[in-house]
């Protein structure tokens, strides 16, 4: 991922904005709403210009109530519309948890398909931006553990555009997690074509032979940096960007691990019972006899997200990934330093 700037380049935030604009242009049923998404264009400006272009009926500010926002989306989806709602930050989606877990995720199943819930719940996701408490949670595991939801997170500018288009077009509800710290990352992209597969497929971002790094969202660039650094030391790391957490692309990841024989999963969220645990469990279930070492996890610590001055200590780093790679060892010593996981 390039971080240089220049003409023809787009930030991830701009790509998201373009995806919303194009989706609204293509389909009248697509509505965008939430807190501050209208005149302000959202606190991250992802909805910038949408009200100006499509009018207040298509992109509008709601009262400040997340359960209400998601519940309104449920009713609109029942009525044939395609709501795309914004939760202002991860932790501010929690008031909507009941609506999401008990209705968004279950209404299609409840009614044997009569009430599908095509909607997108956009969530500025994870940390690394120096936000004060409640602004940097990683909440993907809550959603991924809830059957009926799809869970998607882009790591590249191109994916930001296309995965959001896919999510809006999808017949099922999608929790769309936008890595906050990548909002301002820029790439030179041509959005008329796509290089990675559709939503639901993982992508091998870098080929390698010695071990597989599995990452998603904010940790993908980190994994790529780690692979770059390892290459200098003669270690060849393959980087798999999961892109879609649910449904999970077992095929791409398992193919990689069966070949490399080693795997490190990198996730920003606290480790315990997170998505990295699922990935580690799946990989050892499916590739056990190909594995030369346990699947290790590099995750945040099992603590509430730290204050801005301390987040650096909590977040996975390139060094921690490299340390874990170094420790893809051959005995049972619980040598799990820097993984946020140990016993």
């Amino acid at each position: 991922m390039s971080t240089a700037t220049g003409p023809g380049e787009l930030s991830l935030a701009q790509a998201l904005n373009a995806a919303l604009r194009d989706a609204m242009g293509d389909d009248d049923r697509v509505l965008v709403f939430g807190e501050d998404v209208g005149a302000l264009g959202g606190v991250f400006r992802i909805t910038d210009g949408l009200t100006a272009k499509f009018g207040e009926e298509r992109c509008f500010d709601t009262p400040l109530a997340e359960a209400g926002i998601v519940g309104l989306a449920v009713g609109l989806a029942m009525g044939g519309l395609r709501p795309v709602v914004e939760m202002q930050f991860d932790a501010f989606a929690y008031p909507a948890f009941e609506q999401i877990a008990s209705h968004v995720a279950k209404l299609r199943n409840r009614t044997r398909g009569a009430l599908p819930m095509p909607m997108v719940i956009r969530v500025p996701f994870a940390g690394g931006i120096g936000g004060v408490e409640h602004h940097c949670d990683s909440s993907e595991a809550y959603y991924a553990h809830t059957p009926g939801l799809k869970v998607v997170t882009p790591a590249t500018v191109e994916d930001a555009y296309w995965l959001l288009r896919d999510a809006i077009a999808d017949p099922d509800p999608v929790v769309f997690l936008e890595p906050k710290r990548l909002y301002w990352s820029r790439e030179r992209v041509d959005l008329t074509t796509r290089s990675a597969g559709p939503m639901g497929r993982a992508a091998v971002r870098r080929a390698g032979t010695d071990a597989t790094l599995a990452a998603y969202g904010p940790t993908v660039p980190l994994a790529l940096q780690a692979a770059e650094a390892a290459a200098a030391d003669g270690i060849s790391l393959e980087v798999v960007d999961l892109r879609t957490i649910v449904p999970f692309d077992d095929e791409t990841l398992m193919r990689s691990v069966r070949r490399t024989g080693r795997c490190v999963v990198v996730q920003e969220a606290q480790g315990f019972a997170g998505v990295a645990a699922e990935i580690a469990a799946r990989v050892q279930e499916r590739c056990f006899h190909s594995l030369a070492a346990p699947v290790l996890r590099v995750t945040g610590f099992d603590i509430p997200y730290p204050p801005p001055k301390l987040e650096h200590a909590h977040l996975p780093t390139v060094d921690r990934i490299l340390d874990a790679v170094d420790r893809l060892q051959f005995d049972d010593e619980p040598d799990l330093r820097h993984t946020g996981m140990a016993a």
Partner: protein, 361 residues
Amino acid sequence: MRLEDLLPSPEPVRFVAADGTGTASHGACPRPADDRLVEGYRRMVLGRRFDTQATALTRQGRLAVYPSSRGQEACQIGAVLALRDDDWLFPTYRDSVALVARGLDPAEVLTLLRGDWHCGYDPVATRVAPQCTPLATQTIHAVGLAEALRRNGTDGVVLALIGDGGTSEGDFHEALNFAAVRRAPVVFLIQNNGYAISVPLARQSAAPALAYKGIGYGIGSEQVDGNDLVAVLAVLDAAVAHARSGHGPYLVEAHTYRMEAHTNADDATRYRDDDEVTRWAAADPLARLRTYLSDRGLIDDEAVRTAEAGAEAFAARVRTALNADVPADPRTLFDHVYAEPTAQLEEQRAQLVAELDAREA
């Protein structure tokens, strides 16, 4: 709206006293036409018979559980009569009587309580949302659907039902607020039956009446005797007309009483006196309406017998349908989690199928 229109009448609107005689306190709403009241009577008879039948089916083990609405028929039937076919109803688990009165197949209505599937009818075809279990959550869906109706260019209205207990949930507040700010064509009908399972209204709210909540959202409100079908229908007619004509939401509180326990599994003697139940029996909505209509010559003994015979026939249909064993196929568990089962679900289904096949072999 003027401030005065946001506050309910100081006393519940009533057309018919408990003994069936007409009363003076009507609020501002006109009396519904005679034929609608007669039709309301017929459906209340049917609804009550259905309710008794469903309770009986729990004793026979044909239903897992049934929350009776005996005593609340004026609310349930009033809600249905106030709506057009193309309007939507958002019911709770207690509103099965409203659903059969709207014409839904009783076996489909009871699918949930029989344990076959979560919702047995087609919400889109019937314009009835699934009977909602998580309290108050349906009220905000109703607002969204109401907004969808408006966006789709129709003048359809949504009526959302909720209990007194449900009004304490945050979602109810958010629903009222969203409805008001967005001027959604939705009517909220609180069936205040005095209890949330065991918890009496006095522990649920200190408001002078629940209808006083409207003004805090800028929503016009009214309270009504919920055991008086004439009054319920009159007030709901006005509320629905208000919403339909683009004036936004309306809030109605109906004062009623749940004559049975919360469900057949509940033991109401733990939290209320027989005396209280007896007092409310004297306010029975069905007897009251019968007296009122026959005093006015709108029904005679023959009409009563016809209504009751119709209800008996209906109950027989319910019995037949519920006594038939509907096979529930576990293989279908994976069909509607997503539009298309994921690879993981396909594999899980294959595993289950293999297991079932092995068992059958």
